[in-house]
């Protein structure tokens, strides 16, 4: 088993075309989240930093959901991936955060890795079909417009970065670990 403290992240290249650069930054932040959640027990993954009710395990399951929302639902008009497709969102709008505390660390990580694999395959297909101007199958409920793949990829970089900021403070409160 690999050492969870080892930093295996790949720095984004300083010069690259747009698609390579966007995917490199996204991968960097996916790996940053993996690193912030690595080497912890189920109890540690469920720990909160009050007054916030977020947890590292909840963040990992939330980002697996966000991957499926953008790359399955919006981009391709597919249903959410399991287990999100059968959750009772009406009764439990924060289901992914609440249910994560019952998941084992290896289950959460497997769910997350599978979500990333699906998203990467969807990104490959969209780039082949229309490049970064490729349009989403579903419309924005706010503006009624399609999203471009470009918008979705930059948004995912900011989404992960924001949550990694949450993860920074939560992880530090769990076991003192800090670092970019």
């Amino acid at each position: 088993m690999s050492d969870p403290a080892e930093d295996t992240r790949v720095d984004p290249p300083l010069h690259a075309d747009e698609a390579t650069m966007l995917r490199s930054f996204l991968d960097y932040h996916r790996d940053t989240l993996r690193r912030k959640c690595a080497g912890l027990t189920q109890e540690q993954l469920a720990q909160q930093l009050p007054p916030s009710d977020m947890s590292l395990g909840g963040l990992m399951k939330h980002l697996a959901l966000v991957e499926s929302q953008w790359f399955d639902q919006y981009l391709r008009d597919l249903p959410l991936a399991a287990p999100f497709d059968t959750a009772d969102w009406g009764a439990h709008p924060d289901w992914e955060f609440e249910s994560a505390r019952d998941d084992r660390p290896d289950q959460l990580r497997a769910l997350f890795d599978e979500a990333v694999r699906r998203s990467d395959a969807a990104t490959d297909d969209a780039l082949a079909a229309g490049g970064l101007d490729h349009e989403s199958a579903r419309l924005s409920p706010r503006t009624g417009q399609t999203f471009t793949l470009r918008w979705i990829l930059v948004h995912m970089v900011e989404e992960y970065s924001r949550h990694n900021g949450h993860a920074d403070l939560i992880r530090q409160s769990v076991d003192g670990q800090t670092g970019e």
């Binding site: 984004p12 690259a16 999203f147 918008w151 948004h155 993860a167 403070l169």
Partner: protein, 180 residues
């Protein structure tokens, strides 16, 4: 007290746009989100910590002001730091901006921040005119040569979003305010 921020005026990145417009739109969204997270707070509130982290919102505002003139001014354009950053003994006091930002007058802090953003935008305009997103930085990385403007813009989006995630938890601990 820091200036108030009307959230309905926050810049939104356009869903369908060319690369430059999209990246600058996302950066402005993150800057406005940060202004909002720091808005309406007194000097003691800007100096509050959310242990075990030692970060403060006041320190973060000065840190991001420094990042603006560091990346877009010094690295991209080869410009000297404006005051107050130019006269700092960074070797003797490497966390100067975090330390002093927690003591500064809130309105002066926000004025400094806005001025650094204006300088950064002017440097971005000049670099785009010179070489588009492939424009190379004047200053180089110690190991890897120059930075492209594309890399610097994406890095600033992730830098802001990460700090906004930390600001989410700090602000909630200061006065309970939450929100994306």
């Amino acid at each position: 007290m820091t200036q108030s921020f009307d959230l309905s005026t926050r810049t939104e990145a356009p869903l369908r746009a060319d690369e430059v417009t999209a990246l600058r739109g996302f950066l402005d969204y993150q800057r406005d989100t940060f202004r909002w997270k720091c808005s309406g707070l007194s000097q003691p509130q800007l100096a509050r910590r959310h242990p075990p982290s030692t970060m403060t919102l006041g320190g973060m505002m000065k840190h991001l002001a420094l990042n603006e003139v560091g990346w877009f001014g010094r690295t991209l354009a080869g410009a000297d730091y404006p005051e107050p950053f130019g006269a700092v003994d960074w070797d003797g006091d490497p966390d100067w901006e975090w330390r002093t930002g927690a003591q500064d007058d809130p309105e002066e802090l926000r004025t400094l921040y806005d001025d650094c953003v204006r300088r950064a935008d002017a440097a971005i305009d000049a670099a785009l005119a010179r070489g588009g997103l492939e424009a190379e930085s004047v200053e180089t990385s110690s190991q890897d040569g120059t930075f492209s403007l594309r890399w610097i813009l994406l890095h600033m989006i992730e830098e802001y979003a990460r700090h906004n995630g930390q600001a989410d938890l700090i602000r909630e601990s200061v006065d309970g305010a939450t929100g994306e």
